[in-house]
Every structure is written in structure tokens, then in C-alpha cells.
Symmetry: C2
């Protein structure tokens, strides 16, 4: 039996954050998110037993948001011993709840964004994990700086439990496409297995979760109606091809979901509506496309105010 | 040192087959394939040492062929002991040569096709592997039957080394998307690790390789100018999303290439030019889209003439 005093409050927070974000996105786009409440009890065929419920909110083909998914899920089950051994703590039983979001705006100058926070509990205790990261198709230094500034500020009051620089570095390490030798995007924050000081960590997770709308919405509002050409759209679709490559080849969460019989439609909601591949694309020197590619190869380092 | 008496002849066959197929495809499309001759000698960062050369032939954005790639490669290197242990034979040194092809026609009624034949040699001996399989977006029973008939006939004179029914069953097992519980396409033939009777096997590989144009070209010619609507195109793009999922999540060859530092542009040439994902798509009952989906869930069984 798993006892995790924080769990109920974490579930409530993730659910209200989902509602709050969907409301803001509906206001941005003008469209209405579809809502799918699902439950599952059957054990997965080739993986751990899995049951639970969730609420999938999705907008496919919105006026401004080409594809947007904001998921809440609350599952429980039993890890395989092999999988359990890859994580801290004891026991095969687990329960997990979280919010997970991917937004793919239609406008090539409005960046794709991903966010996910989760509480996972085993018999021996629980931990938080998650983060947020930005994936532009065109590099905009001020936007990238704003995104990082927002999370730096969200981390600042919680220096006793998290170090923003470490979370940023972890994000860069995670969202990297080894076979392309380039980053997926310009980073953000990422953390996992944070089991010390759970009450403070929960406060931090709420600070980071609350930072999502301020981190992304102003950037989206600024660019979601920018004029663009078909050439910009084609480059955006190539970048979305890279997003697909990361999610299907590299992302641990997606691969775990696919291999263990998770709910496919919810797992693959992270994929863009459209993606493109072309042979040996080399952006023209000095172009905006070349600048983006260079940033993804070099990595982006935000400025930090002198103390 | 690897001695494989068949290797030189196999290389010559794969190269002339590449030339022959590219010529036929240029005639079909009216466009000209780009040609990239490449060599590599550097050892891969995280995998086996790899050197060799190849010729990539690619048509991106042809009039009828939206994306077509016909590759020849000849590589040599050293397996990691872990990888070597997954294959028959002894020794870490290997050399491999093969032809590999993926054609994605623009017209939704002209099926995608994949074909690959290769010779792989280790110190203890070599073997052939490969096959061909068809991936329509719309099911056409006569086309599917024609494709299978062609390979059944190509196998028939070689009953001493291959059994068509076994090769067909192996193809169905391999080109399956577990997380979707559906086949990638309607099958074809697939084999690997065929090390007995190499001279006869080489004759069979030539028979199968020669069967490629007769297996696919008549189907393509029949449908490549069929009228179609945007709804047909959208369904084709969704099916291409599944193709991407198979190649990036399931296909052993693609994953091996990505994880061992193979030439990315050649490996990912198998991906379509465009792909699409949408949430929880359910084709209308009785529609052509529903019929295709049903065939992919049930599997396709061609008719075999009574003897």
C-alpha cells in the first residue's frame, strides 16, 4: 500500500492548472478544446499492470494553434522489476499523477512549447519530476531570454531545494538529438527524482507550473499573427520533423509509453499535426534558418543579471 | 580477414540493379535523380568502427514521386561484441553491401514501396537478407494480389533454398506496429541470415531483385495519375505518419543506423516528405479509409492458385 501525504494535493493542483491553461489557450485561439475523460483498468499486455483515469484536452486544427494537447492523468500499477531498478526507492507498486502539455502554433514565428510536471509515489516514498522547454523554428533572442528569465525567477525563491542553473543544464542534456548532434530547442528547465523535502518541492512545482503561462503566452501573443511565407512554413515543417525524431527515437517518456501499452492517442498527442523531411537540407549562409540551426548546434545560453 | 567468394558479384549485382531501377523511375516520373557518391573512414563515436562508400540516388519533390530514394552502400567495420552476439557466425569484423529503396508517390492511390537486399560477411561466413513490401494508403485487392503473385513466382524456382509462404509470414511479422496493433502495409517477402547454399541463394536474391520493377511499376503506372481530393491526400498523410512511427520506433535497421553513427541523410531517406498526425481518427464505417484500416488490422492474405 502506498501512502503519500502530498499526492491528493498534487492531483488537485495539476487538475486546476490544466483548467487554467486550457481557458487561457481557448481565449488565445478562439477555438474550443475537445475533452476526453478516460479510465483504464486492464493490465497492459507486455508491461506493468496499469490502471487509472485521465482527462485529455485537445485542439486539432485551431485557428492559431495547429495542434494543442493538455493532458492530466492519474495512473497506478506495478513496475516490472527491471524498470523498478532504474529508479530510486523500493517496491513495485506505484502511483503517478501529472500534467503534460505540447502546443504547436500554426505561425512559424510562434514557438512550440512543452511542459510536464508529475508526482510519482512508491512504497518507499515519492518524488517530483518535470520541466518546460521551448522549441522555436526561428530563433528570437529576446523571446528565448524571456522564457529562461521566467523560469529563473520561478526557481529563485526555492534555492533551498533547486538550483536554476542545474535545472537548465539538465534540460539541455535531455532535449538533445544525438543522431543529429543538435538540441531539440533552446532549453528551459528539467528535473526528476526530487524526493528530498517534498513539501518545499511541491511549492516549487506550483511556482514552476504557475510560470508556464507567463513564460510562453506573451511570446505567442507577440508572434502568432506575424506575416509569413510558404518558405517559412516549409522550414517550420522540417523542424517539426526533428521534433518527431526526438519524441519517437529519444524521449524516454514516449518510448516507455509505447512499449508498455499506454494510451496511444494521449502519448502521441505530443507529435505535430504535420512534419516534413527532405534530403540533406543546408540553409543558405546568413539566413534566419542557418541562424536557428547554429543555435541548436551550439546551445543557447541566456544572460543572467549580475547580482 | 574476411574471404567471401560471392561478395564481389553481389556488389556488382546491387549496383546494376540500382542503375536499372533509377532509370525506370526517371522514365516514370520525368525527373532526374540526384546522385551523391560518399565515402567514410572515421570510426563512429558510440558504435562499431565503420568505413566504406556508397551511392545515394534521390528524387525529392518529383512530379509523380514525392520522395524516392535508391541507395547502394558497401561498408566494413567491427561489430561491438554485444551486437555480434545477436547474429550467427563468429568474429567481430564484417563487411556488408546492399541496395535499399523507398518510394513515396504523390498520388494517394499509388502505394509506397520498400525494398532491400544485402550481403553480410563475417570471418566465419556470410549470408543474404532482405525483402520487399507494399504500403498502400487505399486498399486495392488486385494490386495487392499482383504484388504477392510476383514474389511468389520469383521464389518458385528456388524451393530448394526458400519457401515463399515462410518469407511472406516473416514479412508480416516484421512490418508490424505493436503500439498500433496494425501492420505497416499489406506485406511482401522478408528474410535474413540465409547462410546455407550461398550460390543458390544469390541466384534467388537476383530473382527477387529483378522482380522489383514488375512487382510495383504496373501498379504505380495504373494509379499515379488517378484523380484524388484533398481528403484522400489527408488520409495518405496520416498513413505516412504511421510509416514514420514504424521506421523510427520499430525498424531494427533504422534504429541500428541512428545509434551507431551511420550516415543520417541516407538512413532517414526512408521517411516520407510529409506526414500528419491527428487525435483519435476514426474513419467512417463503410468508407475506403475504414476498409484500409481493417486490412491492416486483420492482415492481407493473397490467393494462391490451386496446384
Amino acid at each position: 500500500m502506498i501512502a503519500d501525504p502530498l499526492f491528493t494535493d498534487a492531483v488537485a493542483y495539476f487538475q486546476q492548472l490544466q483548467d487554467r491553461i486550457v481557458a487561457a489557450l481557448e481565449q488565445l485561439d478562439g477555438g474550443t478544446f475537445r475533452r476526453d475523460d478516460w479510465t483504464r483498468e486492464e493490465p497492459a499486455a507486455d508491461g506493468p499492470a496499469l490502471g487509472g483515469y485521465g482527462r485529455t484536452r485537445v485542439l486539432d486544427g485551431g485557428r492559431l494553434l495547429e495542434r494543442a494537447g493538455v493532458n492530466f492523468s492519474h495512473v497506478h500499477g506495478r513496475f516490472t522489476p527491471q524498470f523498478a531498478a532504474t529508479m530510486p526507492g523500493e517496491g513495485l507498486e506505484f502511483m503517478a499523477a501529472g500534467i503534460s502539455l505540447v502546443l504547436h502554433p500554426r505561425n512559424p514565428f510562434a514557438p512550440t512549447v512543452h511542459m510536464n510536471y508529475r508526482r510519482l509515489a512508491r512504497e518507499s516514498g515519492g518524488w517530483f519530476g518535470g520541466g518546460a522547454d521551448l522549441t522555436p523554428s526561428y530563433f528570437n533572442r529576446a523571446d528565448a531570454q524571456h522564457f529562461h528569465d521566467t523560469y529563473r525567477q520561478a526557481c529563485a525563491p526555492f534555492a533551498d531545494v533547486v538550483d536554476w542553473q542545474a535545472l537548465k543544464a539538465e534540460c539541455d542534456r535531455y532535449f538533445f538529438i544525438p543522431h543529429r548532434q543538435e538540441a531539440r530547442g533552446i532549453g528551459g528547465i528539467f528535473f526528476d527524482h526530487k524526493h528530498d523535502n517534498p513539501a518545499r518541492m511541491f511549492e516549487f512545482v506550483q511556482s514552476a507550473g504557475d510560470a508556464f503561462l507567463p513564460s510562453w503566452l506573451p511570446i505567442a501573443q507577440a508572434h502568432i499573427a506575424d506575416p509569413y511565407t510558404d518558405a517559412h512554413r516549409q522550414w517550420q515543417l522540417l523542424r517539426r520533423g526533428r521534433y518527431v525524431e526526438f519524441n519517437l527515437v529519444v524521449d524516454r517518456g514516449t518510448i516507455f509509453g509505447l512499449k508498455t501499452g499506454g494510451r496511444i492517442e494521449s502519448i502521441l498527442m505530443s507529435l505535430p499535426a504535420e512534419a516534413r523531411w527532405a534530403y540533406d537540407v543546408r540553409p543558405e549562409a546568413g539566413s534566419a534558418e542557418a541562424a536557428m540551426q547554429q543555435v541548436l548546434r551550439d546551445g543557447f545560453t541566456p544572460l543572467v543579471p549580475a547580482v
